[in-house]
Amino acid sequence: MKAQQRIQRLLSPLLQPFIAIFIGLLTGAIAISIVGAPILETYKELWMGAFGNFYFMTSTFARATPILIIGLGVSLAFRAGVFNLGAEGQMVLGAVSAALAALYVPGPGIVKILSALIAGITVAGLWSLLAGWMETKFKVQLLISTLLLNYVAVLFASFLVSEPFQDRSGSAALAQTPMLEQAAWLPKLFAGMSLHWGFIIGVILAIVMYFIFKLTSVGYEVKMLGLNPYFASYGGVNKTKVLLASMFISGGLAGLAGTVEVLGTQYRFVDGALTGPGFAWTGMMATLLANSHPLGTAVTAIFLAALETGAMGLERNTDVPLEIASVIKSVLILLISAKISFNWWKRMKKGRDKNGMV
């Protein structure tokens, strides 16, 4: 009995992700068989597409970069107890500000990069702060306001690059800024690969955040605020201040994600290039899957990015559409949200026992 309990306690936290991934892949298998492809072959192609060779692997990490940084930002807000659904707008505003800063701030490359980073983080942070301020001051529900602000932000950024700051050099009038000069680009980690320094920044941030929550009083106060705001304010935590700071940093990180995408991958702001791949939403999924744990978010961000790059490989080499990745991702989120644990298992068993008893 005791040994069994110990094993249960050890396995319990692992059970849920395990079941979730298993059922997620099972759902994927169903979707694959619907489009009439062989299941195992398809999953092998998916793996190859994500980690098949060094190039694919670095591409996966490159894709994981914005997802990870956004995920960290969202997890900070979640930890503080608020649902920041505005990562997309924050990211886009950050990216467009960064692109404009890198274009128009005079000076050498490093100055441009730094001012782009500052602009991207600050603008996105302030945008996020707006929602936080509306929540603390006027009780405007952050969950909804952040979501609605996404549309405003994305449309505004789109306006900026289709009217005043549009690149008019090319023949086609695309909604994008001019190209940044090469000195302002974030260096690549490996020549010829898409992976850039943004990934290193993301990983460092994840580690820093992990230690902030584990070791510092600030992390403690944020966590307590998230668990029970009454308890936190009773204990002297300044609820408004911590919430606003969390929202600023949360949005700032989303802005940073947009910034490194602009400086490291696209070298300009292109309307729709950040919203199309759904970085922000995948980042939020990564956080949900990892239960807001910073290091866990790093792992799930890479996992989700791998699903996406793998699915792209799938589309290149087979008839299976890449959208299969989104199906698997969303099933994972649903499963992880439910309290599928030994408690659930016990309840099922108890239900049976009860029926047996009567």
């Binding site: 403690y220 009454y230 009773y234 935590v237």
Partner: protein, 502 residues
């Protein structure tokens, strides 16, 4: 008189803990049978078994001589057993009539006949002489009326046996009188009433028989005529109460000064109406009152959790009015909150995290924002040892601790602050006697060390045991002040109900 209900050798075991052991109990038709005992004596468990909320480990219930077993409250209700819970089970936006009939609504083709409901309630109210306005919204009804609505609901459901769980805890003395009259009335009309309480005076007034529980066992079952309140008290406690430390007479200087404190919400009458009070060093000042008369607001105003509209709060001569919680704590306040789950802890936080609250920025436990966990853990284990807090480890979730142990953790955390002033709100609500004695002793120790305590409690006995001075709060005002010597339960009760001192 015929036996309507019998419970034979009821036992309930949770793990290693025997909550009820071999309890036997009978109830006649038209009888009021009181079950008395301290917190944790097993009264609630017994009633939960009777009401079908818990299956007994062993034992058998008989109704009118027939063995029965209930699978849930519904089953109990359909067998004519009704319960008025201590926390009312009412819908605040519905009217009294709607609350009475819910679950068995008068209807026609699926449509709710509200008129019939009102008629039925009027009829029922007349029959049992229980005054209820059928169209009043529960949110607008007084606590006493809400309780009467609950009783009507139980009657409407066809109950012959009515369980009243601590019915007088939330009532003013006048409302208590009304309730006791209602109970007698019900019994005269043939209903059987089980009265669960720990207030012996009410028992002596209304009960026909009394069963006393202690530590899950019956320590006595007597007719009222053959016993006295003192005898019942002995059966209830079973041993000499630990004598608490002597009071050292201290004439300390003033520590807490509250002047004309006022809290107002829009257009309503003030929640706190120009409250003035003071607490000296070496003094426990008790605030008595029926809960909901401004105690929560007063606590929150003093501790900085709520902004005030007027007046001043001074701690040790320093004006802390409308300062932040952190600053007020720094000025010398610690605070045992009135609701340990809402304010005092986070259920999903660990024991360590729960204990750390308020210490996270102290230089002893914080070096440039890095928490000094080692130092804090030794403090925490000293609390656990001293207060005998039962927890599997400091990584246990606070929500998994028993109420008493969590309360001990919170009390030790706040005492550990070693501040000159302590706000203690309902410090022993819902804890067992052992924990209660511990906490009372600790509070008195703090007083004897020359610190000041403002005690807020809805338990009169607690106020009377601990306080040097007693203030009575009623509708946001201090309506009376009594010294320890002149205070009696009688005098306080009158003031609590809004009466004058004389």
């Amino acid at each position: 008189m015929s036996i309507r209900l019998e419970m034979r050798k009821m036992t309930k075991q949770y793990g290693d803990f025997l909550a009820n052991e071999d309890i036997s109990f009978t109830l006649n038709a038209g009888e009021v049978h009181a079950i008395v005992g301290e917190n944790g004596a097993g009264k609630t468990t017994l009633m939960r078994m009777l009401y079908g909320m818990e299956p007994p480990t062993s034992g058998q219930i008989y109704l009118d001589g027939e063995p029965v077993s209930f699978d849930g409250p519904n089953d109990a209700i359909s067998h004519g057993i009704g319960m008025v819970h201590q926390h009312f089970m009412l819908f605040s936006d519905f009217t009294a009539a709607e609350n009475v009939v819910i679950g068995h609504e008068p209807k026609k083709a699926g449509f709710f006949r509200r008129k019939d409901a009102i008629d039925t309630v009027n009829k029922l109210a007349g029959q049992y002489q229980i005054q209820v306005r059928p169209n009043v919204k529960v949110a607008d009804a007084s606590v006493g009326e809400q309780q009467r609505i609950e009783i009507l609901k139980v009657l409407y459901q066809g109950a012959n046996i009515i369980i009243l769980d601590e019915p007088t805890a939330v009532l003013t003395p006048i409302e208590v009188k009304g309730l006791l009259k209602n109970i007698k009335n019900l019994a005269e009309q043939g209903k059987s009433v089980i009265l669960i309480t720990h207030k012996l005076r009410e028992v002596m007034e209304v009960a026909d028989r009394v069963t006393v529980l202690r530590n899950g066992k019956v320590t006595g079952s007597v007719n009222k005529e053959e016993t006295t309140a003192d005898e019942l008290a002995k059966l209830m406690v079973g041993r000499e109460l630990q004598t608490i430390s002597d009071r050292i007479q201290l004439n300390g200087n003033s520590l807490l000064e509250v002047n004309e404190l006022t809290i107002k919400e829009k257009q309503e009458k003030p929640l706190l109406d120009r409250i003035s009070l003071s607490v000296r060093r070496g003094e426990i000042v008790g605030i008595a009152g029926v809960s909901g008369n401004g105690q929560s607001e007063l606590l929150q105003a003093i501790s900085g959790l709520r902004k005030v509209n007027g007046g001043k709060v001074l701690i040790d001569g320093k004006d802390v009015t409308n300062q932040s919680v952190a600053d007020i704590r720094l000025a010398g306040l610690s605070h045992i909150p009135e609701d340990r789950y809402l304010w005092g802890a986070a259920k999903q936080a660990t024991v360590e995290e729960t204990g750390l609250m308020g210490y996270q920025n102290k230089p002893d436990y914080n070096n440039k924002s890095i928490l000094l966990k080692k130092q804090f853990r030794s403090l925490l284990s000293s609390w656990i040892k001293k207060f005998e807090i039962k927890t599997t480890s400091i990584n246990e979730q606070a929500g998994n601790l028993s109420g008493g142990n969590l309360q001990k953790l919170i009390v030790s955390r706040e005492l550990g602050q070693e501040t000159p002033l302590l706000l203690a709100a309902e410090p022993t609500r819902g804890v067992d006697i052992g924990a209660m004695e511990y906490i009372h002793e600790a509070l008195l120790q703090k007083r004897n060390n020359g610190d000041g305590i403002l005690l807020i409690s809805s338990e009169l006995t607690e106020i009377l045991t601990l306080s040097d001075r007693i203030l009575v709060i009623y509708e946001g005002k201090i309506v009376g002040e009594l010294t320890r010597e002149e205070a009696t339960e009688e005098k306080i009760s009158i003031l609590m109900a809004g009466g004058s001192k004389q």
